[in-house]
Amino acid sequence: MWHTLSIGDTLRKLGSNISTGLNSKEVEKRFNTYGKNKLNEKKKENIFIRFLKQFNDFMIIILIIASIISAVVSNMQGSNDYFDSIIIIAIVVFNAIMGLIQESKAEKSLEALQKMSAPTCKVKRNGKIEIVKGEDVVPGDIILLEAGNYVPADCRLISSYNLKIEESTLTGENAPVEKTSDIILKEKVPVGDMLNMAFATTVVVNGHGEAVVTETGMNTKVGKIAKMIITNESPETPLQKKLGQVGKSLGIGCLIICVLIFIIGLIKKIEPIEMFMTSVGLAVAAIPEGLPAIVTIMLSIGVTKMARKNSIIRKLPAVETLGSSSVICSDKTGTLTQNKMQVTKICDITGEKIDSQTRNFILEIASMCTDVDINNKKETTGEPTEVAIVNAALNYGINKNELYLNMNRINDIPFDSNRKMMTTIHRIGNKYRIITKGAPDVILKRCNKYYNNGNVSILNTSVINSIENLNTNMANNALRVLAVAYLDVENLPSKIESNAIEQNLIFVGLMGMIDPPREGVKEAVETCRRAGIKTVMITGDHLATAKAIAKDLGILRNNNLAITGEELDKIPQIILERDIMKYSVFARVSPEHKVRIVKAFRSTGAVVAMTGDGVNDAPALKNADIGIAMGLNGTDVAKNAADMVLTDDNFVTIVEAVKQGRNIFENIRKAIHFLIATNIGEIVTIFLGLLLGLKSPLLAIQLLWVNLVTDSLPAIALGLEPPEKDIMNKKPRDSRKSIFADGLWGKIFAEGTMLGVLTLLAFSIGNNLYNIEVGRTMAFVSLGVLELVHSFNIKSETSIFKVRII
């Protein structure tokens, strides 16, 4: 609302004085009211408490009880064999440590934001200019802004001289905003258009000015975003939830069986202590102790693999979620495109087909009329549009530095956004050449002649129309168009100003430039389509540009719609949720829009990946199922809010990561399938064995060995299965379906029973033909090898005896 007030009103409202600033008493009073100009930190939990929290798991508690019972029994039997107890406890502690390490990747976002705040600042207090720490600024303070400063807090500009501020930390726009103190704006204006305000964490790149502080700390625009980060919790992944439930169920099932066993034992008049030990053994057998650790190991291996392919996973659960992505919302500039302006069309008044002489002439005069710097390595620096022109010229061997040697640049009229053009004046021998470039419509107005194949003729309506048509055509193809004109004169007027110089020029030609798509993006979008994934483009660009590029990349197809942020504001969230799947392109969107878009897609049950690089993207990144930050051009805040960081900022990397995610999920599924099936096999062995006979077919410690050692290796190996051929030709996994969907439980029980029966068979042969020790030994070896063999069954959905003949 400060942007709607005049300077006088703002000062009055803040109780401040433009010439003296606040006095010390006032400053102290406000400091007590508003506190430091800082962003609040989240309190970190004590590490000991976090360690203890790991034990708050049903499976773990059962194991601890089993361990205690085992120790007690051993003690009562007078044996010093506490081996069982020790191993069980060791497993439990190991699991806890793994959990702790996982959670220890602490939230550093706020720390990074803190670093961006202005260290010191010039303030007018008590009629004098003082230098204070950024965090000591209070509302009402008169601050001085100079080029190179960070703006310490939100403030209303009081005076501005060529003041330009780069607000990418807030708006994501790299182009500096020209500020002016002299205007009053309407209430509903996007942050990027608040020209009479300056905001905390932004940078002054040009000019200077004075401002009165309006908001500090958590009340600044940046602070409000930080608030959104703190309150938006990241959702728990489906897999974690499910495994927790499974653990509980298995634990309860195991307890029931133990009770049954106990009753059976009593009926069969077996010693209670022995029954206890068997129960312990059963608990050990039933609970897949290695499961959480193995899943974590597999996720970690997956993470390493993906890092090699340019995706840094910041949060482990993202690996699993990635595989079920059904919507990818990607930024355009820099992710889908190369973020380099490139000249793609050069036209004269007749159109695109021009000879090399005309083309060279256009490039010559255009590149001379720029402020681009070329160093000896032929590297160009400067404003992107001008760099594009100079690079295009360099491609044809036209170097403006060389041209300047013969055609000295002696003066210029710089670019300004009102005139929309720029002029340079060069001396050629005794004459002067005036070159002007700028927006086509304004250049045309300053021309009365045109250039065609070395001849100069007077402009007429038909030529003007033809030029305007060319311009429109290029704009519709999402090109940014520049026109260039020149004039050779004998003498220069005394005053070098626009009205005197930029007149009666000779129109030469047009240049169209575009930010080209990155290599492989079109193919990646197609891969997504075949994989049942919807690609959505999100950009701050014009709608027309966005639509054109989206069509070219295959993102905007047939019936898909494109919409701007402004239009989005008119649609209530409920309607948006209903229609969201129709949209493929969102242009001119703000951070709040991004969050709405993510929420709308998620409401349809889609699993949403969203890219971002700026501070303002953090809430959207956190709300998405997979937040993806840019590694090269992203801010620290975005990277810390994200689940995944692209080291090459490339869209193609995202698609590859999805493929890896799908593979990893499949492999985790196989590993879980294996581990639980084998555990059920062990339960069946013991249970049936006790029903049919008197003694347990296997001892607790033997079961522990098979469960931990024999089973772990194949489980991890299953985790390293390579991706199946058709992995990206299937629809994304339904994230609402549990990992056990599609009849997995049925298979697990059937296979478990099979394994149990076979082990019992081995035991019976050994026990009945020889003795119980032989029986148990044969059962032990059988169980182990049976399970090892079975891992090959699980490895592939289809027969493993595949042979390719080529």
Binding site: I533, N558, F780, S782, V785, V789, I805
Partner: protein
């Protein structure tokens, strides 16, 4: 004509082969090395007993492979098609 049996199917995942080999070796070692066998309350086995053991252990592979083949015959091979989104 080349037979690419090493790249598809059984031998595709070298880690699994390794895990299998290692697992079998470990199972056997535990039984065969007396002090270790003592801890686990296991006894040495004679040749026939070993034969019974490994004979039974192969069965899952045969059973499941047969089942997979039967499924293929009944339901056919699955081909995925994609829809316009």
């Amino acid at each position: 004509m080349k037979l690419q049996y090493l790249r598809y199917g059984l031998f595709e995942n070298k880690y699994l082969i390794g895990a299998f080999a290692l697992g079998v070796i470990l199972q056997v070692l535990v039984v065969v090395i007396p002090p270790v066998a003592n801890i686990f309350k296991l006894v040495p086995l004679n040749r026939i007993q070993w034969l019974y053991t490994f004979g039974i252990s192969i069965l899952p592979l045969i059973i499941i492979e047969v089942q997979k083949k039967l499924n293929e015959v009944r339901f056919g091979k699955v081909i995925y098609e994609y829809k316009e989104i």
